[in-house]
Amino acid sequence: MKPPILIDDSWEKQLPAWLHSAPVVSNWPLFTLAAETKKLVIPTDFHGLLTPDFLPSIHFMPHQIEAARTVMEEMNGTAILADEVGLGKTIEAGLILKEYMLRGLVSRTLILTPASLVNQWAKELRDKCKIYALVQKKKPDWSWNGVQIASIDSAKQPKYADAIANTMFDMVIIDEAHRLKNPATLNYQFVRRLMKTYCLLLTATPVQNNVDELFHLVSLLKPGHFGNSESFNNRFKKGKRSIHDQDAFKELLQKVMIRNKRDEMDRQPIKRCVETIRITPSKEEKAFYDSLAYLKEDVPNAMTLLTLQREACSSKYAALSTIQKLTGQKCEKVALLAEQINMNSKAEKTLAIMKEHPEKTIVFTQYRATQRYLEHYFRENGLLAVSFQGNFKKGKKDWMVELFKGPAQVFIATESGSEGLNLQFCRRLINFDLPWNPMKLEQRIGRIHRLGQVQDVHIYHLAYEQTVEDRMLTLLHEKIHLFQSAIGKLDDILEENWVEEHLHDAFHHSKSIREWEIKVHNLTAALE
């Protein structure tokens, strides 16, 4: 095989003009310098990285350099970067991008991120990799031949989507790529249409709920790597949440995915202490929770009832905001029961934890109502608390984090917008209520358990006994198990000593929520 030799004749074309024109000033020192310096900075080998030597003032971590090398040499610039949260995926991607730029293989680049992270990306690329990217805002110019950053939500809008899909990008980088797990979504279809040579997908949580997500993500990057959906199903899939032939699966996956883990990185690994605290509801709380079951006929569907129950496990305010939208006499009765509650047992427990360990603490809740309540509650008890929401403007977000760094002791956050927050100066986190998705938990924990954390981190999960939260713990366990068999070990998210098998059985063979709860109840009774 002889590769074709392509001659660039631009110099040759200008030569006659130079020969005939009046003598221009010839700068011999500049001529020599240009040639000798060019020799110094061209890549003399296919292998290895230029960037670390060329950016001597920046200290890249060994795992970042290794990852960049693997992506270049073995994965040919198409990879999923799936390091655990907080290990610097942005810098890893920047390093790879820079290397391709220095080698002259990439110039036009599109980086798609959640809107909240656009500016952070621009800053990190500038500071860490000396890449000056254009941030595409209100009047985007997609013809820019350089590095550009846009939020995926604005880019996929119909008015821009075509222009972007018709542009040839040398490299496309997509942050928080777990948002592309579903091929039916607009996000997925938009990314599918992009013309690109190299592609990096970044996510700390490549699997969230089922194996198909991984198949779709990989098929977006490298269609055919896992076969087509039919052969994938036959070969690897065993039910929704487990995998056949794990070794072969992992081997294939490792060819397109890099995953660094915290405990492999640190010389003195930071320990993660996870504690699930099961709280006995007060009499009033119990009465209120149980009464929700009577609303069965008033709610539009079973899902709403479930939502109500989950909200009630957070705070009565969260549940009341939903109940108020319903009508009927029963609702009023239930609302009355809610009024009887004058103490939130979880809030009390949270306060107790913070009294015991008087240091900065993050409290995560899913509900705005609970967030407002907690802020008020902490203030009453003499603790300075700040609330954080995803829809804050960037300046306000930064200010909230600064407040937490400074005087405030408690940081109350809702889920959204927490991606990308760096709060490693704090080491205690309380989950006031639980999400369905273990990766959300992992994302939450990643706010404090990340590079730069120097102390062991403490995580608390608060769950009411004999409620829907018991069931959620089970489901979380099941999903974590899937993640581990697909991707590898996950740091402890929940405690291990859970009676998994029994709960699993109870969950799968119960016909109604009620029945399931009774089974769980019996099980716990038997255990106790």
């Binding site: 010839s26 240009a34 950016l55 820079k98």
Partner: protein
Amino acid sequence: MMTFLKQFFTACECQITHQDDQSITVELSEQMDRAIMNRPFYWHYKDQLNEKGAPMTVSFYVKDTGQPLRAHEEYISFGSPRFHQLLHYAGQQSLFIRLYEECPSIKPLQLEPWLFVHFLISYEANGKKERIESVALHLISGTIQRDFLTKISDVPFAQTIPSFHYVLSPFITPISGLKRLQQMVMNELNQENHEWAKEAKNKQDKEISLLRSFYENNPDDSEEYTREKEAIIRRFEPAIRLSVWNGGLLYLSAGRFQTFTDAQSAL
């Protein structure tokens, strides 16, 4: 880096006003300011008013001192865009040169024409490596010299034909000379071992067959298939690119030529 900055700004006739281990401060020339400081509005304004503009003074730091930078201060390293801008500028400004050797002689001295070229050779596939060939062709005898820059690095040059010197005209035109040099390099490239290209081609074939298997049962997605296939081709397709980084005509004394050939026959 410091050596580069010093030589670069000296060669471009910018005044270096301060210099220590970590930094260099330069009073830019007007031409340099226009070329690198990216302030077209300022220069346009000054031109319209027919006024002389004030070029900036800039400090470049080669090490991160940990202190925040003030206005007109910046860090520079081989990885920073600024460096590549300066290198590009140097390349563009020295694309073509024409120079005459200057000997301290009172006797008439004969100068012979050489075509001197830096070829940039890029090997591209699923990666990229490059090298620079410094070659020259004697435009009378057709002799070719390699590693030419090192051989003539200490020759003193003048912009015009110095007095008592005279120039021989070439038998070979510079344009056909360039063709000869190109042909030589291409012959050598064809002789090389191209294992890298074979490997890339194999990988490419594998990826394309995987891709085909994915779309086998979905003939509707042919557009998508074509798009993905083209991406694979771009990622792996091996090719060698040959371009000229810079070059020009040099007139050297016959004595130089003699020493080259002597050195060669001695080998």
